[in-house]
Symmetry: C2
Subunit: 369 residues, 2 copies
């Protein structure tokens, strides 16, 4: 087991990475202020992992209330959130009752938001069961639900007390979900770690066959980078926005197709390709680099071509992005592999060209496809 | 105009108290990070005060989106909250758009919670239009909505950028609402300021006839006390809970009768009498002090007798209180006028006796009514 620490001005918490951590109550129980916990999970994860976790806690004298949500991004709504609140209140849960998220990014984001807002703040623990959640969403305290007009529009910054990234839980992860997680792993290489990007180029086959050494290294590097970025900028007033590489495009894909049609990681994958192409159109990235990026994303089993939403729909959906500031869309673009920057001056003509698949070469000059 | 400052570890903000502050854009505009604001108000306040505020902001180049909610505690729900989110998203509001609460406690609590959660936190300003909101709910950053199973169960600690307590807005306040506000004013005397309690005994007639000097003094003392208590304990881990004097009983009255049947201040008034009677039953308060408390509350035009909810309903409703800890109900009780303390060991027999109106004298000994 590896333990990383995320240190923030107001709090600090450990991220444990290893196999068979699910029932390690020695890692969990010290973070429960009272012997009462609610495990929030979903219909897919519950049959696999709820019973061992619940039994382990109950064996330590903890009263456990399970809440089983429907599975999928389509259910990351205020209606589903209310199911959590209802259970908490029906069981007379107190403000010291701990909410444990046992699931992927959707369960983690919703449970975190429920914890942030139940009686103005209850303790919260993340046990991510997908690669995507282990490398990205479970760390850093971003919690949210979707609104019909935009993804993650309602939420809070609220940190967990501990994160248990149990790699053994990935044994049952469907291949498509594994690939979706690899999208976020690739993101870390792209946004700030060229060496890690190169490592991924070499180790992608091992990752896809779930070589435990490779997976542990990928989770470790991603969590370390995430923890460092969050520690420097918890509230995303600056560099934390780099973690949204591919996400402005990706969120538009998810909203445009309807939440759940593409997995979040798939949308981010195609979004990263669009970000690379936009960067190239502005002359900031070479065609060779775009090819390397596209090739690695494809090697992870991810889509490299975005769906055709129509240019107006694209622009309309992206106008709802949380990074919009003073009416200007802000994108995370690349000045090289491992060198992401926030850019607010991307001309609409360049976006239109990229989104309609026209080839563009050099500083905004467009040529017909 | 008087200005008080509330200084917290992470932030600080001014509370301006005076007449005709509503259109003082010199006090408002410096707190808007961009020229975009949403005014959240209700159907009662909008015809009176929305236009002057909106015009004043627009004259300063601020884009203003008004959101007019139905009026009343019965609408402090997730459904009404969604009306605010919908408006924010339909108007493409950014995370730097400022939400301005123009209304009483319900509007302030809901607007604050919307601001706390819109894109994980947007700026927020309080312009309280009721006495209750001016002396209590607009200061200190408690935001919330109700759940069918409990009042203020879903919420966040989230501070405004500035509070404008415009005493001129009280000119149109219905008498019943004025009295409801006086309940919270009396609370401050009771919980920690015997001198102020005595001042209130003398000045209650002046307050009820809206003598501006008396009102300004009452608002100033209450806001100063609230600011000091919040500064010492923002997250209510300790003495901030004293501000809930009368509220455990009061919330049960509101929930038991259905939100809106009694005004919050009316429920708190009857709740403070019950807290005084419980304190007397435990031998902590003299019958003479109970009489003074009851007399002052009655002089404010407030109910001194709680509705008969039935003992089991009382206990069930109070078991949902946010102050419940390790299964134990905690009450704010009095060891004298101006000396409130948090107590968790009140015997159920004492509560039952007080709630059924049986006379009790001295340390838990009960006598039939």
């Amino acid at each position: 087991m590896i333990t990383l620490d995320l240190v923030l001005p107001d709090t600090a918490y450990p991220i444990h990475i290893g196999r068979h951590l699910l029932t390690r109550t020695d890692l969990l129980c010290p973070h429960l202020p009272i012997h009462d916990a609610v495990i929030v999970t979903n219909t897919t994860v519950a049959p696999l992992y709820l019973a061992p976790l619940q039994s382990a806690l109950e064996a330590n004298g903890v009263r456990v209330t399970p809440v089983i949500l429907p599975d999928g991004e389509a259910y990351k709504t205020s209606e589903t959130l209310n199911l959590i609140y209802d259970a908490l209140l029906q069981r007379h849960c107190e403000r010291k009752t701990t909410l444990i998220a046992l699931g992927g990014g959707v369960v983690g984001d919703m449970t975190g938001f429920a914890a942030a807002t139940y009686q103005r703040g209850a303790p919260f623990i993340q046990i991510p069961t997908t690669l995507l959640a282990q490398v990205d969403s479970s760390v850093g305290g971003k919690t949210a639900i979707n609104h019909p007009l935009g993804k993650n529009m309602i939420g809070a910054f609220y940190q967990p007390r501990v994160v248990l990234a149990d790699l053994a839980l990935l044994d049952t992860l469907p291949e498509r979900e594994l690939s979706a997680g690899l999208a976020e792993v690739i993101k870390y290489g792209l946004l700030g770690n060229a060496e890690f990007f190169q490592w991924l180029e070499t180790h992608m086959p091992a990752l896809r066959t779930r070589d435990m050494g490779a997976l542990q290294e990928a989770v470790r590097v991603a969590c370390r980078m995430k923890a460092d970025i969050v520690a420097a900028d918890e509230r995303e007033t600056g560099q934390r926005a780099l973690l949204n590489l591919g996400h402005t495009f990706g969120h538009a894909i998810e909203a445009g197709l309807g939440y759940g049609a593409w997995l979040h990681g798939e949308a981010v994958a195609a979004g990263m390709v669009l970000a690379a192409e936009t960067s190239a159109a502005l002359g900031w990235l070479s065609p060779r680099e775009v090819d390397r990026i596209t090739a690695l994303i494809a090697a992870a089993g991810l889509p490299v071509t975005a769906p055709d939403l129509g240019v107006n729909t694209w622009l309309e959906l992206m106008a709802h992005d949380k990074k919009v500031e003073a009416g200007k869309l802000r994108f995370v673009l690349l000045h090289g592999i491992g060198d992401a920057r926030i850019e607010s001056g991307v001309p609409t003509s360049v976006l239109e060209a990229v989104l309609t698949g026209r080839r563009i070469t050099g500083r905004g000059r467009t040529t017909p496809a």
